[in-house]
């Protein structure tokens, strides 16, 4: 096996890196691939809670790097999906607990055992980001249609290009189609105009993302929510399948007003 190693990153915090990592890992595993999701955010780990595996941590990546255990002892197998694994990082340590060389070595080891290694990068452009990206071949940049997130995405794309990651593809997360329609939110085409990189997916703003993170269950596992479908589509595109982009208008409730508006106006 020679895994594709993909770093999921954004520059800005809170745009959905960890959610994207967890859901793409789950979706790829559901497609029969052997997948490991690695938490690259030393000191602020969250992939464990989003994936609902926080109670099963024994060893972390840092333990393996320090020789306390073997790398495969850090693997947490997800019991809900076959072939899905997670490697947690340490919560009580800082970013200097890992070096870029160590990450390259770890990724090299993981490559032999998996089809996909997805690395959840920390926010920022400093050492934590650089280390988490060091061992990756490809990158997924997550942004939301907001000026701050798009600006930071532009910065991160420049850094990823200088690190020779390829392809670098964009996920536009948390789109509110009714606001885009009104002209009160950047549309995906605006974001692509500005960032000029390839789009791999757009994910509508979806309350199910909140409820699934509350429960620690990946969205893609449960019912067919708009965001869950969007992440599944992205996973298929990562696999090289030609999946058309979803019509976001159809997914949009537009909140309470949208429901009332549609009840009255019929659209």
């Amino acid at each position: 096996m020679t895994a594709r190693v993909i770093v999921v990153t954004s520059g800005k915090g809170g745009v959905g890196k960890t959610t994207a990592t967890a859901n793409l890992a789950a979706a790829l595993a559901n497609m029969g691939k052997r997948v490991v999701a690695v938490d690259g955010d030393v000191g602020l780990r969250n992939l464990d809670v989003i994936m609902g595996l926080e109670n099963r941590i024994v060893y972390t990546l840092i333990d393996a790097l320090e020789g306390t255990c073997r790398l495969n002892q850090t693997f947490i197998r997800d019991k809900r999906i076959e072939n899905l694994f997670m490697i947690p990082t340490a919560q009580s340590r800082t970013k200097d607990a890992v070096t870029a060389e160590q990450m390259i070595e770890v990724c090299g080891e993981l490559r032999k055992e998996f089809d996909y290694v997805l690395i959840d990068s920390p926010a920022g452009i400093e050492a934590g980001f650089r280390n988490s990206a060091a061992g990756a071949d490809e990158a997924l940049v997550v942004t939301t249609p907001e000026v701050s997130a798009v600006r930071d995405a532009d910065r991160i794309i420049g850094l990823l290009e200088s690190m020779d990651k390829s392809p670098i593809r964009l996920i536009v997360n948390r789109i509110r189609p009714h606001m885009v329609k009104k002209g009160d939110m950047l549309g995906v085409s605006d974001v692509l105009d500005i960032l000029a990189i390839d789009l791999i997916g757009m994910v509508p703003d979806d309350e199910a993302v909140v409820t699934s993170s509350n429960k620690g269950e990946p969205l893609v596992l449960s019912q067919s929510t708009p965001a869950g479908i969007a992440f599944r589509n992205i996973a298929s595109r990562i696999e090289g399948k030609d999946v058309p982009f979803m019509n976001l208008d159809a997914t949009d409730s537009g909140g309470l007003f949208g429901i009332i508006r549609r009840a009255i106006l019929g659209h």
């Binding site: 000026v147 532009d154 910065r155 420049g158 009104k182 002209g183 939110m185 605006d190 500005i194």
Partner: protein
């Protein structure tokens, strides 16, 4: 409301966001390193030398930022202009 705001020349906030982003990124991206500027200078000199003789030591090249634009401003002293060759002549 859209009608009135458009009438008064006020764009929707999405368009405002796009315009602001384009501008801010123009500035962000124009923060180029001294090495890159030096390389740019070398390349420009190489091209210009095909046409005119210039004083390479006195070339000034810099990015000037104003509110709504970034300009690459070059001051290149010309010594002599090369004689124009007719087409076909080597």
């Amino acid at each position: 409301m859209g009608f009135f705001t458009n009438l008064f020349g006020i764009h929707n906030s999405g368009q405002i966001a796009k315009n602001r982003l384009q501008l801010v990124l123009l500035h962000d991206r124009s923060d180029i390193s001294p090495e890159m500027l030096e390389n740019l200078k070398k390349d420009i000199i190489a091209v210009i030398k095909n046409y005119v003789e210039i004083d390479e030591k006195r070339i000034e090249l810099d990015l000037e930022r104003e509110d709504s634009s970034v300009a690459l401003v070059a001051n290149i002293p010309v010594m002599t202009v090369r004689r124009q060759r007719r087409r076909g002549e080597q």
